[in-house]
């Protein structure tokens, strides 16, 4: 899973998609996850990193993570599965 190439994320949590001209706000934990995705970390690695650092458990986080990824897809911010397999 990859963030679209041109998508820019600032540390302050502003995300800009130059293809569509859309802007988004992301909360700090969201920025952290986006950065981990950028670093090609697997979902398991991301989950471990977050659960180690924050007061949550794996089940809760993984549910929230799936939801977050779903919304990234919804807004067309991730390379779709098809594209990555070509």
């Amino acid at each position: 899973m990859k963030l679209r190439k041109n998508v820019a994320v600032s540390e302050a949590g502003l995300l800009f998609n130059p293809v569509t001209g859309e802007s988004f706000t992301v909360n700090p934990i969201g920025v952290e996850i986006l950065n981990l995705i950028r670093e090609d970390k697997s979902p398991d690695q991301i989950s471990k990193a977050i659960v180690d650092k924050y007061s949550t458990d794996q089940t809760t986080f993984e549910k929230d993570y799936d939801d977050f990824i779903g919304i990234l897809y919804h807004h067309n911010l991730l390379e779709s599965h098809e594209e990555t397999t070509i």
């Binding site: 995300l15 859309e22 802007s23 988004f24 706000t25 992301v26 909360n27 700090p28 934990i29 969201g30 952290e32 996850i33 650092k53 924050y54 007061s55 949550t56 809760t60 986080f61 929230d64 993570y65 939801d67 977050f68 779903g70 919304i71 990234l72 919804h74 807004h75 911010l77």
Partner: protein, 452 residues
């Protein structure tokens, strides 16, 4: 090493230009305490969901209302509208603050009597009063507000039979410029029905016409309409005086003042735009003082204010069950509060505040309850800080009508707790139990056994 407080990851599109239907963010502070008591501890002790009523807020509100009227008009009497919230503890607070009782059924009448209210201080409204109810009210010398001619004739007969002169008023409906006009109850002013009824009462000689009553609507946003109503009733009273040399002792303008809730579809919050007690008092007292009553013959002004006196004192605490996405990607937040105990969510966009700390990030969401029914929506669209499963929420201004119109449906109705003046909690209505429910039922003998 302690971990950082977890928050769900969120991403939200920035919309420019278009005003959005979720409105602007209104919650900047969590509501962790109510009258000094922690929401978290209240829920732990008394369960979730949980109704909370603040005695402090109730007393402050009735004092404010009385002051608004009493500083403008010499004779004012409030009568607590039982249907708005008839939990005994609540009625007693109003009675301690000097309010009479305003009831609309035999059940409410008996409730007032059982609380120890003097029969003379009970106003009996409503279209459905049985002969038995009426006889009781006549013997107790209560104020009976006549709704229709059948009732008028029944009271005439009963007065003869009991040989007691009932004190009555008629309920008048009228055009005050408000739409829709409430003309189902009482006798109409404009078409002469009200004047006819007055003549029937005066000519019968069997009753004492003590007052004139109206209730022009509920959640009224126009003080001006009350000015019109007061003028019309004053005119009727003066006509009675002129024709029959009979003094009308009181004018009762009913209830209906808007509380500070926000009506569904309203662009601005009710706290900003709804009129205050002072606005209503100014319109009403001006109309009465400007009418042709002699200074020493001003009638007593009775007010049956309900929701505006209790809404803000009530809170409903609940917990987040789950966060979901709808098929279209919309955020949904499920809480343990169904519309069966929050009936007013059909009229109001109730304010909802998280009960624990949150960051500045928000999410547009639909808040709904656990009833497994599509109508079970508390807020269709609201911008809320991020909530996690198990977090608590506080729903504001729920004191009016919810604790009388609530329905027992698929679960049991929750505890109601009053926080007293010293910030001590008291259960004033116990959570229902399965035994409570079953004790009302009877199973015929042939249905008792089945193969297990």
């Amino acid at each position: 090493m302690s971990k950082i407080r977890y928050e769900r990851p969120v991403i939200k599109k920035i919309e420019t230009g278009m005003p959005n239907k979720f409105g602007t963010r209104t919650e900047y502070e969590p509501m962790t305490h109510i009258d000094g008591l922690a929401v978290k501890s209240l829920v732990k002790e008394y369960g979730s969901p949980l109704f909370i009523l603040s005695e402090k807020t109730i007393r402050n509100t009735i004092k404010k209302a009385r002051k608004a009227f009493e500083t403008r008009y010499p004779k004012v009497q409030f009568a607590w509208s039982y249907k708005t919230n008839y939990l005994n503890a609540i009625c007693s607070i109003f009675h301690q603050e000097g309010s009479w009782a305003e009831v609309v059924s035999g059940f409410e009448y008996d409730k007032a009597i059982s609380l120890g209210v003097d029969g003379k201080k009970i106003i009996f409204n409503g279209p459905e009063k049985s002969e038995e109810d009426l006889a009781k009210a006549i013997k107790n010398n209560s104020l009976i507000h006549i709704d229709h001619l059948d009732e008028l004739y029944t009271i005439t007969e009963l007065a003869e039979k009991i040989n007691f002169r009932p004190r009555v008023a008629i309920r008048v409906n009228m055009d005050t410029g408000v739409y829709p006009m409430w003309d189902r109850f009482g006798f109409n002013y404009e078409n002469g029905q009200a004047w006819d009824a007055i003549n029937k009462i005066m000519h019968s000689g069997k009753m004492e016409l003590a007052g004139l009553h109206c209730h022009i609507g509920t959640f009224m946003l126009s003080p001006y309409a009350y000015g019109i109503a007061a003028s019309k009733l004053a005119e009727l009273a003066l006509s009675v005086e002129q024709k029959f040399k009979h003094e009308i002792k009181y004018i009762d303008l009913g209830g209906g003042f808007a509380s500070k809730n926000t009506l569904k579809g309203s662009y601005l919050p009710g706290t900003d735009i709804n009129p205050s007690f002072d606005d209503f008092a100014e319109a009403i007292s001006t109309a009465l003082l400007n009418s042709n009553f002699k200074q020493d013959k001003l009638p007593l002004l009775i007010l049956e204010t309900g929701r505006a006196l209790i809404d803000e004192a009530g809170y409903l605490l609940g917990s987040v069950i789950s966060n979901k996405r709808s098929s279209t990607g919309r955020r949904n937040t499920i809480v343990d509060i169904g519309v069966n105990i929050l009936f007013t969510s059909f009229w109001y966009d109730h304010r909802i505040t998280p009960a624990q700390a949150f960051t500045q990030y928000t999410e547009d969401t639909c808040v709904y309850g656990p009833l497994c029914m599509n109508i079970d929506v508390i807020r269709e669209s609201i911008s809320l800080p991020l909530l996690n499963r198990g977090d608590h929420v506080v729903i504001h201004s729920v004191g009016a009508y919810n604790m009388t119109q609530w329905m027992q449906f698929i679960a049991l109705r929750p505890n109601v707790v009053l926080i007293d003046m010293d910030e001590k909690p008291h259960i004033i209505r116990l959570r229902e139990t399965l035994d409570n429910m079953n004790s009302q039922e009877q199973v015929p003998a042939h249905l008792v056994k089945f193969n297990k």
